[in-house]
Symmetry: C2
Subunit: 254 residues, 2 copies
Amino acid sequence: MISIVILGTGNVAKHLFDAFTAKGDVEIIQLYGRSQNALSYFKNQINTTSDLSNIKEADIYIIAISDDAISVVSKFLAGKKGLIVHTSGSIPMYALPNKHRRGVFYPLQTFSANRKVDFKKIPICIEVENEDDYKLLNELASAISDNVIQLDSDQRKTLHLAAVFANNFTNHMYHIAHEICIQNDVPFELLLPLINETVTKIQDLSPLEAQTGPARRNDAGTLDKHLAQLKYKKHKKIYALLSKSIRKTYGKKL
Amino acid sequence: MISIVILGTGNVAKHLFDAFTAKGDVEIIQLYGRSQNALSYFKNQINTTSDLSNIKEADIYIIAISDDAISVVSKFLAGKKGLIVHTSGSIPMYALPNKHRRGVFYPLQTFSANRKVDFKKIPICIEVENEDDYKLLNELASAISDNVIQLDSDQRKTLHLAAVFANNFTNHMYHIAHEICIQNDVPFELLLPLINETVTKIQDLSPLEAQTGPARRNDAGTLDKHLAQLKYKKHKKIYALLSKSIRKTYGKKL
C-alpha cells in the first residue's frame, strides 16, 4: 500500500483527498494546511497538521498549493526520503529542491468547490526525475484514473496553455453570450443544446473541420450586421478579432 | 395532418426532412432544389422539383436556403395560400413578401452533413405575423421538438449573435488549443475531459461563476509566461485581448 501526505487544502487537494479516500490501495497518513480553519473539512477524517516541521514519513508527498508557494513549502520537506511531487500545470519539476526525489502529478481538470468530478476519466500527467520512481507514481495515479500519461515539463506547459484556450476562454465566450441574452431579454438556456452539440462534435471531428458560422463562410454582410448590433465596444473588439482569425484560418483574404 | 413543402437541399433542409419523415403527423408533399444533382438525396423518397414555377399547394412552405436567397426564392411563391416561413436566425420575418401569411421557423442548432441530431431537445424559435397562424406553426414545430418558443425577429437576432460566441468562437478556441498541442507534440485528446467538464459546469452554474484560470485570478506572472510561450502573433493577440476582458469582468485594475 502506498502511503501519502497531502499538503494543501484548496480545490485540488480536496478532490484528491476524496478520490484517494474512496480507494483501498492508497493510505493518506497526514494532511497539512496553513491554518486550523482551512483544515476543518479534513479534521475528523484524517491526521492533520498546520505545522510544517511536523510532517510524517511517507512514500509520496503531494504538494497541492498555489504555484508561488510551491518552492517555499517544499523546502520544509528537507530530509524526507519519499518522492515529492507538485500538482501544477505550469511549474517545472525543477522548481522543487534538488536534494529530493522529485516529480509532478498534474490532473488536467477544472476543479470547483462543490462539484464532484469523476477521476477515472481525468488525464493525470506524471513526470519523474529518476526513472526508478516512475512505477510508484504511475501506481498512485492509476489508483484513481484510467488515463495516466507521462509528460515532461515542456509538454505539460504546452497543455496548460492550450487548456486556457479550451477551458477559460470558451467559458468567457459563454459569459459574453450570456450578457448579450440578458441585455435583450432572451433566455440564455436556449443556447445550451447548441453549446452541447458544439462539444459533442469535436469528439469525432477536428475543430478545423467542425467550424461553422458567418466568419467561416466569409459572409461579410452578417459580420457587419453583428458588429453594429453589439452594444459594448469590448464585445465588438472580440467579435472583430476572432472573426478575422477564423477567416484567416480558412484562407479568406481580408 | 399538416402538409408541407420544403425549399432547399442543404444541411438544415436535410435534417428537417429526416425529422419530419420520421413523424406520422406531418406530410412532406414536395421538396424543391436548384438542380437535379442537389435533389439526389431526396429523389427516391419524395416528390421533388427543380422548377420554382411548379410548387404544389401546401399548408406550410419551409424555406431552408442561404440567407441572401430567401427573398428571391420566396417571390416565386406568389399566389400560394399556405403559411410561408424561413429558417434563418438573422433574417427578419418581414424579408418575406408581404402578400403572404408569413412566419419564421428557426431551429437553434449547428447542423453538419453527416451528424444525426436529436430534434427533441433543439429549441425551435417560431414567429408569425398573424396570431391565427401561431397554432399551426406551433403544431408543426411540436411534431419534432419538445422545446418550442415564440420569439420576435429582434429576439431571434440576439440569439443568433449570442450563438456566434457560444458556438463559432468556442470552436475556434478549440482549434487554437489544437494548433498549440500539435506544434508541441502533445495529444489534443487529453483536453477533451476538461472541455466536457467546462460545458457540464454551465448547465448548473452561470458562466460568470464558473470562470477559472490565470486571468480570473489576476495571476500576472502566468499571463506573462503564457504570452511569451505562444509562437504566433495572432495567438498572442487573442490571448491578450481575452485575458484583459476576463480581468475587467472581475473588476481587476489593468
